[in-house]
Symmetry: C2
Subunit: 247 residues, 2 copies
């Protein structure tokens, strides 16, 4: 499994991802799921990946090849709009998954190594934005009422995002919330695990403002885990007591 | 959907359930999913239900009929052990679902109105315990390392249980934690909704210590929601800041 989240705020974008992959519980590995592509002063993209590792690697390889090929008909370097970049990644995704799919008729089990992606960034002259790209190649964007997108194991880490994330909050705060969301997910699902990657993009800068790779031993991560546990316990202890006499 | 949780602590048991049912998003209703059966001074059972409403109603009706029938070959009144009661409910569940299933061959879509249950309680002379009963009729119990069981939409509300629930905690505290877990689930999944039912069983009493039915307008529930939000926000604001100068 995987857990990745991308948050679109007024000030910019926040990306966070775990790095655990598995092919069965007896084949667990660590791979980065965060990739960035940059043309200084002009455009920046961050891509987060979930799903079949062969497919996500093939898609990222194709994106890299096209990015460095001036003759590529379309690439992250030449796409004129963010949604065109999402369309491009979606097409690569669909094509790559189907290239290795098997479907031997209605009585046979079929196999499709599907994947999904989060793509966020900014092209000069346009707003920053973030897209979720489905295995089928289509895509949706975030909205003011729904300022974040998730791929992979999204449920355990959603309640804290729903309670905290707001369009006008500082990027650093959203990044801390994303880490708590990752931490909650890791505790409830062993197929999501560290190190965690965190990237912060400030609108109009066309380069990452900050990037962190956090292991369980990172002082920041240990401190965040400890204080969050303490804070939750304090919040819990302050909940109203039942007044059974009144009932 | 549904969300029910049953917690087994040293002091006794806590049960909590939502009451929203739906057959598609355009057919939403409110039904209780908590049922109790009692022989004063001798035995008490609480049952929580999830899944196909026709199946859960039929199973509860059968349990009620058998409970009042002195000639029933097995019932919650006569089962000698809790696991036998779980086995009995599991058999009713499997039989009822298959009675209304359709399976017209490998080329046709099949239909099985499946359901699952949580069964907890105590029979005099034995420990209190709680079981989760699967659609197939088999069942598992909780464990000291895993002192709660869930049915329905279990993921959104799991992180807070994982952080707070401990065997030796007071029943009231576990009940407040169950309410927070329900509240988090309701916020993230519209198919889980109020009123919420809460029951507390203290070991050796063979009757419920407390029962609450909470709507969104209940002063206790409103106060709990408000304080939990405030507490989470306070915990969030106390998280360690990023020290970007050091990176």
């Amino acid at each position: 499994m995987t857990y990745c989240v991308a948050i679109k705020l007024n000030e910019g974008l926040v990306f966070a991802s775990d790095s655990r992959t598995n092919a069965g519980v007896d084949h667990v590995n660590t791979y980065s799921k965060m990739f960035s592509f940059q043309v200084p002063g002009e455009r920046l993209f961050v891509i987060l990946t979930a799903g079949n590792l062969a497919t996500t690697q093939a898609v990222i390889n194709s994106i890299r090849r096209d990015f460095d090929d001036p003759d590529a008909p379309v690439s992250l370097r030449t796409a004129e709009h963010l949604f065109e970049a999402a369309h491009y990644v979606g097409e690569l995704n669909r094509r790559e998954a189907h290239r290795h799919s098997t479907d031997d008729g209605p009585d046979q089990a079929s196999f499709l190594p599907s994947a999904s992606f989060l793509l966020g960034g900014q092209i000069k002259g346009q707003d920053h934005d973030v897209f979720m790209i489905y295995p089928q190649g289509n895509y949706i964007t975030a909205s003011p009422a729904n300022p974040y997108l998730q791929i992979g194991e999204n449920k355990y880490g959603k309640p804290i995002l729903d309670r905290i994330i707001a369009l006008e909050m500082p990027l650093d705060d959203a990044a801390r919330c994303a880490l708590v969301s990752l931490d909650s997910t890791m505790r409830s699902n062993v197929s999501v695990g560290p190190p965690f990657e965190l990237a912060i993009y400030r609108r109009g800068e066309f380069e990452l403002a900050h990037y962190l790779n956090l292991t369980l031993a990172s002082p920041l991560y240990k401190s965040l885990q400890k204080r969050w546990n303490e804070g939750l316990r304090r919040a819990f202890n302050r909940l109203p007591r039942f007044d059974w006499e009144q009932d």
